[in-house]
Symmetry: C2
Subunit: 314 residues, 2 copies
């Protein structure tokens, strides 16, 4: 008989839930929009409502566990969430709260969960050692070592977006200076796009934005670069170099077999990957005589959260 | 009956060997000076000569294994040394070569070995997750996760000295730009000391060096800073900040319980550690709400190599 697992992906605006088979197939999917950011009680109630709904609507399937991915720090051993800033949740004992379902529960940071999903069912399938960088509002990181999620001591590590790549550089929202996140996130790309546009009134990017800088988004530079705009093209190359600097360092630190790029920026697909591969191969993937590391886009896209979460309890 | 292990520390000038007890005590010690850098055959002969000598002179002890630490890349699973530049060794099947001794053999990079030694018998004893940074000619790194040495896929990671901390910065001998090693090694300190002296003819460091810049060494800036020289003091603070940047990043990536500083620079002891703790605590050890990470000097000093190597087979 096929085995099924609940995967829950907690975001800033909604809770997504799915029933995922042991083959990684999504058999059922639902979302509840939440008033996120109202503290522990509201969060737990929303979560329980979602789980009850999933169980009720999937009585024909034997569910073997509940996996949860969330934007915050959680100790995956004991289920204590120290803090999830966007959810306004602090010091929540998540596993205790979910005991009533009588199912194994495991939770981890959303980037970790996505990395595990990619190893089990996505672009890193068949690889024992991989890293996922999610380039979105921030830069998330997930590390899989020898097939297992590496979360750092007490699940407090793998914050790859907060490796410092330029100690003299841009302030990061985390309080440090020059973090990878301050250069390689979509937010950083947006900032740099606006800066370049203000410097270069002749850039095609103005036209692309209907001459209103408020219309800039994560696509602006990439789309105009593809159309041959020099300013946009130089900017994209600069942006790629920042991601590349992160990749070179992670190669030297972890030497994974494969590095995956996820998050909104990964929609650039091969255009982005080809540039990254070129940047890193010209630099020997870290050091002379280093083995080549594959670089690919993550494959699970919007389903990475629920599939990855379900993977936690498979 | 007490158990004994051979630990061998291969350096650029000599091969050190010791017999180490299961309590980490050195029971016997010997060194052979070698004509290092003459290729695989000379290296293997020297190594075998050393092991034979140790076994002959310790017939009263039951030796249970041979551990080797060396300056180069070795796959600790299969014993294949891809490259050890200083030894001029390439593609050597070390474990096969040492089969004649009929003892378990395990080898790893020297920084890894030292990190393991510190966890078993040194300053990180009792900690499950620790990092050792050796600040010497280069910057070596050893990572212990959950009590086990982490070497990266195929033992090709944990090159912590080659994490990029300033993508716009100083060229590193490895070929990359802005590696931690280019800022935090003793070699880097020497470079920066000379630069500062040339900028500041009034600095006490000139007197300390008998007005000859060729007399600069790793102590110059530290000793003059302690005596109150402003230029030296600022330089030491700058140098400490570079080590600190590395530590903050490693905290975010690994979140170890403790970070140890080894190598020649660690002779500065508490003077260095106090400055590092101040730098990192002012920056929350990585990110707001991050747990505090202990920072200490490595304890095994010159014996780290042989004790750590022996630890590999305990």
């Amino acid at each position: 008989m096929e085995k099924y697992y609940i995967g829950i992906d907690i975001g800033g605006m909604s809770l997504k839930g799915a029933v995922v088979s042991s083959l990684g197939e999504i058999k059922y999917k639902t979302t509840i929009v939440t008033k996120v950011g109202q503290g522990n009680e509201v969060f737990v109630n929303d979560l329980k409502t979602l789980i009850r709904k999933i169980l009720n609507e999937n009585k024909d399937k034997e569910i073997l566990g509940i996996g949860v991915g969330l934007p915050g720090l959680i100790n995956s051993e004991n289920g204590i969430m120290d803090i999830a800033p966007n959810l306004q949740v602090t010091d929540l004992h998540l596993y205790d709260e979910l005991k009533e379902f009588n199912l194994p529960v495991k939770a981890s940071n959303d980037a970790n969960v996505a990395a595990l999903g990619e190893v089990k069912f996505g672009a890193a399938k068949g690889y024992s050692d991989s890293i996922l960088l999610t380039l979105g509002t921030g830069v998330g990181g997930g590390v899989v070592i020898n097939g297992k999620l590496f979360e750092g001591f007490n699940s407090k590590g793998a914050e790859l977006g907060h490796m410092i790549i330029n100690f003299d550089g841009v302030k990061c929202p985390c309080g440090l200076t020059g973090c990878l996140e301050a250069y390689a996130s979509a937010t950083a790309l947006l900032r740099m796009t606006k800066e370049k546009m203000l410097e270069h009134k002749e850039s095609m990017m103005w036209e692309y934005c209907n001459n209103d800088i408020n219309n800039v988004n994560g696509l602006t530079s990439f789309e105009c670069a593809k159309k041959g705009d020099k300013v946009a093209s130089d900017l994209v190359d600069e942006y790629v170099s920042y991601i590349g600097v992160g990749i070179l360092s992670f190669c030297n630190i972890f030497r994974p077999q494969i590095i995956l790029i996820g998050g909104g920026i990964s929609n650039q697909g091969d255009y982005l990957i080809n540039k990254l591969v070129k940047y890193c191969s010209e630099r020997d993937y870290g050091m002379k005589m280093s083995p080549k590391v594959e670089i690919k886009c993550a494959a699970l896209k919007n389903d990475a959260g629920v599939i990855g979460a379900a993977s936690l309890v498979m």
